[in-house]
Amino acid sequence: MQPLLTAEDVTYSFGPTHALDSASLRVYAGEVLALMGPSGSGKSTLLHCLAGILTPDSGQVTFDGRDITAMSDTARSALRRTDFGFVFQFGQLVPELSCLENVALPLRLAGVGRREAQRRSAEWLERLEVADVAGKRPGQASGGQGQRVAVARALVTRPRVIFADEPTGALDSLNGERVMQLFIAAARDTGAAVVLVTHEARVAAYSDREAVVRDGRVREQEYAR
């Protein structure tokens, strides 16, 4: 089976600090991969390199056989709009837009008309059980609700890969469990691969496979779930 997304010998430095040191990783279509490791190990940097947000100093990242590292900034932006979705620790919703508009934003950026974008977004809010906050601004929703809105926003374009960086890091355990259940179920329904950065074992438990990042290098472990 061909991997959907690969990183080969990726290195990345922030000035004198080596964040990634010949890190290599494979992500297969439809799988949930947990990237684990202590703080400062380079997991988030690896996620950013995989998502085309950061360009590695050396090494190669390919998506569907295409070399992301060789793409222009515009092409990488287009890739992120169409094939990738993102969930961050604090949701990072646009505070001035309503929850519905936040979910519709990636669709609007991809050129979908407002009405259609909002229709599809409403479906996702329904599916993630937050239809009641559709008209509210993120500041008027609870943390758990906001994170579910963020998940809906990541899924609405039906991306092929979703990058989630500590998606429950700001939630209590009950809310975190619920968000992960809904998130993983929805991702599996759409067939999207998930790259999940976490340092929590209970969150990593939702994954098919774990890869541990330490000192900028990746050690993969496979689990049969």
Partner: protein, 757 residues
């Protein structure tokens, strides 16, 4: 009290010891407040500069109306007025009549004939290469310079030259220098212009100062939240915030003081030389300076406290009360309505007003312009709540403004107030200028210069005329003689005798040949008929000595200049006054070689040698009151400085906003948001309030301009080109400011800027 002091000092400590971001915020506030303070202090120096200047000019002025006998303590003087390449030169010929003859201020010794003491600027000009053509105009020998006590300002071109040719007829006698009465009263209309200008230029500066103290307030609020976490209550938090603001304001005062000193050094050189001032004059009026020193920190603290009203600082963060509470209109209307009420009585014109109207105008204009700043937030909020649709950039911008338009409005309220004020002032200036500008109607294709000579023998065949005619660059010389014509009823008219080209300088004469006669018509011109016999006299004081009969075929012509309507004028060619003994002409009209740029200066040199008291001026199509030219220059300089100041404030504001939103920008970029979308969003966020601000400003400015024009008894007219230029310049500043933030936006949206995510 001690607790208060502790909390205030904690705020002070936080502002200076809060790390790099605190120091950066403090620097922004102090530079912002400093710029405002410098402008306020600059304005506070104007009265001192003007009064010192007036005092020195008064000290050298003389009372010409005295009829004094010659004495040991008298001196004969003659005014000399000239120009050199557009720069005005003034001076006196001085002839001491006794051992105790007074010396002019700034002059330390008596001047022998031909000796000159010049102002330092005049001496520099005479010594320079540029002044080569001026050297020797009065046959001078420069023996020293005039001290500061005898000059209006250091840039003034002024001189005293000793003479031995002055007589009681050619000069006038005085016993002392110094005439306190010389200070001229300012006409009400010009006073109106001055006070409106002052308010228009200073009000936005005050608004800028209140904006500057809120630079970086969001990070300050987060700092306060951290203090709440460790046990500070809401009231304590406010006092700590006050302490923090005080540091910014005080540092701003100090920075402003430094800017002010720098500005003084620059301004002394930048102003036109007629208005130059000595560094010693550049001192703010103590009371006004004290007001600035007290009001700036006090208003800074009040603004901070008022801003905190809309913010709830909680231990776990900051909540802004920007939700659904809509802004109310009614109280925002109170001040502009009060301003209009104060200005309304002026529509009858200043003539009907009692003295002291300037305070009423200042208050009215200030209230109306403050009204713009108050109405703008309401207008922006009311408008953006009705906006919708559009692309992602538009939607992001509109939603942002719907959530919190206050920050954006704060940034543009200064520009709106400035534009409103400048439009009003420009409207008034244009109207007043129309009143003070004389369309001279002079025909410039024949003669380009005119000189009135009193002391020279202008016999057409004499040496003086020969010298004038042989001056390089002089192509032709025409003269006009003058006689008083007394009609049989005893009414006086003026008879001008000259060739057709010369007569065209007085009346709109079309067809003309030697032997023709014209009567200048006008509102006050007496009716004259052919065949009327006039008695002719050579001056106003003499009785007629000969008679002349107005010939048939006399043609009425309109005057070239409204000023000439005041009395009747008869224009006659030499052929029409044959047999009349005409006095020697006094007015000389000179045709100059248009390709010779130095011809005018050479002519002035020759005329000065023939008659030092004669003033050579170019024949102009129109003349504008010099003070209006200065005011227009002042308005331009002031408005430019203001726009730059506001541009800087907007830049800081937008940069601050971008920095505050860097996390969000990072997320948007992670989604694949195009840079163009983010740029467009920033542009819309700035452009929407600016556009609304300009609409409000144009409406207020034209309305205020109309009221002020009525006050100046001028017909109400709208200077659309001026309005367009002012609004355009403001829009350009906004556009440039936004463009200037683009590098930061692009940097924040580069991968390096996203690593915190």
């Amino acid at each position: 009290m001690r607790r208060w002091f502790t909390e205030l000092s904690l705020g002070v400590r936080l502002s200076v010891a809060g790390g790099r971001s605190s120091v950066a915020r403090l620097a922004m506030i102090s530079v912002g407040v400093g710029l405002g303070v410098a402008m306020l202090l600059f304005a506070a120096t104007v009265p001192a500069v003007v009064s010192a200047r007036d005092a020195r000019i008064g000290a050298r002025a003389v009372d010409r109306s005295l009829d004094l006998p010659r004495g040991e303590d008298t001196v004969l003087l003659m005014d000399v007025k000239s120009e050199f390449r557009g720069r005005q030169i003034d001076g006196y010929l001085v002839q001491a009549e006794g051992a105790r003859s007074p010396l002019p201020p700034g002059v330390t010794r008596r001047l022998a004939p031909g000796e000159m003491v010049a102002s330092p600027a005049m001496k520099r000009l005479l010594d320079s290469e540029e002044g080569a053509l001026l050297r020797g105009r009065w046959g001078e020998r420069v023996v020293g310079t005039i001290g500061a006590a005898g000059l209006g300002g250091p840039g003034e071109l002024y001189f005293y030259q000793g003479s031995d040719r002055l007589t009681e007829e050619s000069g006038y006698r005085v016993r002392a220098f110094g005439d306190a009465e010389v200070a001229q009263g300012v006409p009400p209309v010009l006073l109106l212009l001055g006070v409106v200008g002052l308010v228009v230029l200073l009000l936005p500066v005050l608004i800028f100062v209140t904006t500057a103290v809120r630079f970086g307030s969001e990070s300050r609020d987060r700092q306060l939240a951290a203090l709440r976490l460790v046990g500070s209550d809401a009231v304590m938090t406010r006092r700590i915030a006050a302490g923090e603001t005080l540091v910014g304001a005080v540092l701003g005062l100090l920075t402003g003081g430094l800017f002010f000193l720098g500005l003084g050094a620059l301004a002394g050189r930048a102003v036109p030389e007629r208005f130059s001032f000595y560094p010693a004059d550049f001192r703010p009026v103590p009371l006004l300076a004290l007001l600035v020193i007290v009001l700036v920190p006090v208003s800074a603290v009040l603004v901070t406290q008022s801003a905190l009203r809309r913010v709830v600082v909680e231990p776990l963060g900051v909540v802004r009360r920007s939700g659904d509470r809509r802004r109310r209109l009614w109280w925002r209307l109170i001040l502009p309505v009060a301003g209009l009420a104060l200005l309304y009585p002026l529509h009858e014109g200043l003539d009907q007003r009692a003295e002291g109207f300037e305070y009423q105008v200042m208050a009215g204009v200030a209230l109306l312009l403050v009204g713009v700043a108050l109405l703008l937030p309401w207008l922006v909020e009311a408008t953006v709540h009705r906006l919708g649709g559009g692309g992602v950039a538009w939607e992001l911008a509109v939603r942002r403004l719907q959530l919190d338009s206050g920050t954006a409005v704060r940034a543009v309220s200064g520009i709106a107030v400035s534009v409103a004020g400048v439009i009003a002032l420009q409207g008034l200036l244009v109207a007043v200028q129309a009143q003070y500008t004389r369309e001279t109607g002079h025909v410039t294709d024949r003669y380009q210069a005119v000189a009135a000579l009193r002391l020279a023998d202008l016999d057409p065949a004499g040496p003086a005329m020969a010298r004038l005619k042989s001056t390089p660059g002089v192509e032709a010389v025409g003269t006009a003689a003058w006689l008083r014509a007394v009609d049989p009823q005893g009414g006086s008219m003026t008879l001008r005798v000259g060739e057709c080209g010369v007569l065209r300088q007085f009346g709109k004469v079309a067809e003309c040949a030697d032997g023709d006669v014209f009567v200048v018509t006008g509102q006050y011109a007496p009716a004259v008929a052919a065949g009327t016999t006039f008695g002719l006299a050579e001056s106003f004081y003499e009785e007629p000595t000969q008679e002349w009969t107005l010939p048939g075929g006399v043609r009425p012509v309109p005057p070239v200049d409204d000023m000439l309507q005041a009395g009747g004028i008869i224009l006659a060619t030499p052929g029409a006054v044959r047999g009349v003994s005409t006095p020697l002409p006094a007015d000389v009209f000179v045709a100059l070689d248009p390709g010779d740029t130095d011809a005018m200066e050479r002519l002035r040199n020759v005329v000065a040698a023939v008659d030092p008291s004669a003033y050579v001026r170019p024949v102009e199509l129109r003349t504008v009151e010099a003070v209006l030219v200065t005011m227009r220059q002042g308005l331009l300089v002031g408005a430019t400085a203001l726009l730059l100041l506001i541009g800087a404030s907007m830049l800081v504001n937008v940069v601050e906003q971008l920095r505050e939103r860097r996390r969000l920008l990072a997320v948007l970029v992670a989604f694949g948001t195009r840079r163009g979308t983010l740029t467009g969003s920033v542009l819309y966020q700035v452009a929407i309030p600016v556009l609304l601000g300009l609409v409000l400003a144009v409406a207020t400015g034209t309305g205020l301009g109309a009221v002020l024009q009525s006050a100046a008894n001028a017909p109400v007219r709208f200077d659309w080109s001026g309005i367009g230029a002012t609004s355009g310049a403001a829009a350009l500043v906004v556009l440039l400011t936004t463009v200037a933030t683009m590098p930061l936006l692009w940097r924040l949206t580069k991968p390096g800027g996203l690593r915190s995510e």
